[in-house]
């Protein structure tokens, strides 16, 4: 490490601190991220998103610049610049009054929106962020294609159809099962009532003397419970039910 052998005790300590700060303060440069390629339709707006990562604190001197290089052009022009909390938008060129600043450097966001897209906006957009002293780093480029209608991507319709149909089938199955379940439950309660009636009828055979003056009660109850099976069954068997209810 090149430490003199006869150095004092403090010296290696100082050296190691120096070394560690050098290691801990990474020389990683600022990193800028954008999409690779975006598609827009004529007349619509599109967001050119740009985020970045810097190891330094976001200083007040941070600057964000967007450059534009037309599809068949060689030169790139600046269309947007942000510095010292102020943003400056191209107000002479082809992007006049079409750029909107939606980024926020404190959230590491340098995105802009281009309104009212034209075919001449086809080209490469470069996002460049400098966060002094963190200024070393690559810029990031995104290519914009302006279409009359955005073409369908491979697998888009395919996925949509498969997903949609499967979802519909699943929902229909679920509903069918729910209905069947409810129906079975109703059927089961009906069955239980019927069997209760049967039991009652059997018991009724013994003491048929009470039968006469209990009939009105039975009818009232039947109307209420809407048992629409064969009506004679009700009048015969329902009696027992009413008796059971009374008990």
């Amino acid at each position: 490490m090149g430490i003199p052998a006869n150095a004092g005790r403090a010296k290696p300590f100082l050296f190691s601190v120096l070394m560690s700060t050098m290691v801990l303060t990474p020389t990683l440069a600022i990193k800028v991220y954008t999409a690779n390629e975006i598609h827009g339709t004529v007349g619509s707006k599109i967001k050119l998103s740009c985020s970045f990562w810097s190891n330094e604190w976001i200083s007040d001197d941070i600057s964000i610049t967007w450059h534009f290089q037309p599809e068949r052009g060689k030169d790139s022009i600046s269309i947007f610049h942000y510095a010292k909390g102020q943003h400056y938008i191209d107000n002479v060129g082809s992007f006049k009054e079409r750029i909107e600043w939606i980024g926020d450097p404190h959230w590491k966001d340098g995105s802009i929106i281009i309104h009212d897209l034209e075919y001449t906006d086809n080209g490469t957009y470069t996002c460049d962020v400098k966060n002094p002293p963190d200024i070393v780093g690559r810029t990031s480029q995104v290519t914009l294609y302006v279409f009359e209608n955005v073409p369908v991507r491979y697998g888009q319709v395919l996925g949509a159809i498969i997903g949609g149909v499967l979802a519909v089938v699943l929902v229909v199955l679920l509903i069918a099962y729910l209905i069947r379940y409810c129906w079975l439950r109703r059927q089961a309660t009906l069955q239980r009532r019927l069997s209760a009636m049967e039991k009652g009828k059997l018991r009724l055979g013994k003491d048929s003397s009470k039968r006469r003056h209990q009939t009105p009660v039975l009818y009232a109850m039947l109307d209420h419970s809407r048992l629409t099976k064969s009506s004679e069954k009700k009048s015969r068997g329902g009696l027992g039910d009413s008796r059971k209810d009374k008990k």
């Binding site: 888009q156 395919l158 159809i161």
Partner: protein, 159 residues
């Protein structure tokens, strides 16, 4: 009974095989030194095949989706059949199995129909291409799938 069961399963599996073959094999359209399917567009030059991915046309994608759906439905149906074979009460019908198989048949039918009507959208009609065997297989799979679906619905489970 066992023979009937075997016959049904064989029919179902043959439908599945037909569906798989017609979905995968690159023989939907064949022309002079050129053939295409749902996924690839191949030319047959002197040395070797050269294939490019097919276009992203919406109709072609829907044909792809319908073929895949029919395979999925048919597989689900086969699965359901084995489930219902063991769980169904005596005398019950294989409704669920049949419905899925009929759905698979309908999917194949609509896929093949769309392909018939719309294939000129993504394929230049200049080189007089004719339909290949994978296309015909998909049309064969349609009535077979419907048939096996109907058999499932009619069939009652015996012991």
């Amino acid at each position: 009974m066992l023979l009937l069961l075997l016959g049904i399963i064989v029919l179902h599996i043959s439908v599945l095989v037909l569906l798989f073959v017609s979905t995968i094999v690159s023989q939907w359209l064949v022309g002079n030194g050129h053939r295409a399917d749902l996924w690839l567009n191949c030319t047959i030059p002197v040395y070797q095949f050269r294939c490019i991915t097919s276009s992203t046309n919406e109709w072609l994608q829907s044909v792809q989706a319908l073929m895949i759906l029919s395979i999925i439905f048919s597989v689900i149906s086969l699965f359901m059949f084995f489930c219902q074979l063991f769980t169904l009460t005596k005398g019950g019908r294989f409704y669920l199995t049949g419905i899925f198989q009929i759905l698979a048949g309908l999917c194949v039918m609509s896929g093949a129909a769309i392909f018939t009507v719309r294939h000129t959208d993504w394929h230049p009609s200049t080189d007089n291409a004719s339909f290949g065997f994978a296309y015909i297989l998909s049309w064969v799979a349609f009535p077979l799938a419907i048939l096996s679906g109907v058999i499932y619905v009619i069939l009652r489970k015996r012991e």
